[in-house]
């Protein structure tokens, strides 16, 4: 009877030890899973941060590009104004410049001027397509040195006076 009780107690002790061991094993595996999950989450957070940083960089670049294009557009409007002013310039006595009238009075002179202007117009088209500016164009600061057809794109250092 006593030995049977001993066996039962020993059995309970062994079962308890086994249960404890299994519980510890379970906790260990749970811990490993949690560690792995945590690593994955940390990786995901880092990835998200990289994405956000890239997006911020992209937005800044887009803003710069828009600013640049806007500035360029303003210059182009300037060239259109130059063309408009050329034909509608009002002189000191309040008369509007009339190229037709000038041509009637001085056809030869206007023809020579037009020949020169046509060369300048052709050069303007080259610059518009991306042709690099020459040293002369870059250094032009006087009215006599500039390309009168498109000073805003041909002569970046010229300040109208």
């Amino acid at each position: 009877m006593f030995s049977q009780l001993k066996l039962i107690i020993m059995g309970i002790a062994v079962l308890g030890a086994m249960g404890g061991l299994m519980y510890v094993q379970h906790l260990k595996s749970e811990n490993e899973i949690l560690t792995l999950n945590n690593q994955k989450l940390e990786g995901a957070v880092a990835q998200q941060q990289a994405v956000i940083e890239q997006q911020l960089k992209d937005i800044a670049q887009i803003r710069d590009i828009n600013k640049e294009l806007l500035a360029k557009n303003e210059k182009l409007v300037g060239d259109l104004n130059v063309a408009n002013e050329k034909f509608n310039k009002v002189n000191a006595s309040g008369e509007r410049r009339d190229i037709g009238n000038l041509a009637v009075n001085k056809p030869k002179s206007i023809q020579i001027i037009e020949g020169r202007r046509e060369k300048q117009r052709a050069r303007c088209f080259e610059i518009a397509q991306g042709s690099p500016l020459t040293e002369e164009e870059l250094n032009a600061t006087k009215k006599s040195q500039i390309n009168a057809e498109c000073p805003n794109i041909a002569n970046p250092n010229y300040v109208p006076y």
């Binding site: 670049q61 887009i62 590009i65 640049e68 294009l69 360029k72 557009n73 182009l76 409007v77 060239d79 259109l80 063309a83 408009n84 050329k86 034909f87 009339d98 190229i99 037709g100 041509a103 009637v104 056809p107 030869k108 206007i110 023809q111 037009e114 020949g115 046509e118 060369k119 117009r121 052709a122 303007c124 088209f125 080259e126 518009a128 397509q129 991306g130 042709s131 498109c150 794109i153």
Partner: protein
């Protein structure tokens, strides 16, 4: 798991700059028309002129400026797109421009390594 593969860069260059032909303007008035036509005949050019009034001439020049401005805008946009989507620093990183030293580029005699 899927892996994103980046598309090969298009990397197009701008077309070469077109150089326009030089045209010559003739100013013709009531007073000089005979002289102008005589000059044309003398130069063996057909005595005909495709003409514009002074007002249409002004419009033509304005149209020219508008066209030119549009080209500038389009080229600028194209360059901006290229710089945004195909920055030069990235394009250079992926190319096969590695230079070889003499020893790396030494020809290999495959017959000598045969068993």
């Amino acid at each position: 798991m899927t892996t994103e593969i980046e598309r090969v860069k298009l990397d197009l260059e701008l077309p070469p700059v077109v150089v326009l032909e030089q045209i010559n303007w003739k100013i013709i008035t009531e007073g000089n028309q005979e002289e102008v036509f005589a000059e044309l005949k003398k130069a063996n050019i057909d005595p005909v002129l495709f003409s514009l009034t002074d007002e249409d001439y002004e419009l033509l020049q304005r149209n020219n400026v508008q066209l030119r401005n549009q080209i500038v805008r389009l080229v600028a946009q194209l360059k901006a797109y290229k710089e945004y989507y195909e920055p030069k620093s990235q394009a250079k990183a992926g190319d096969d421009s590695k230079t070889f030293t003499d020893t790396e580029f030494k020809p290999v005699d495959f017959n000598s390594t045969k068993d």
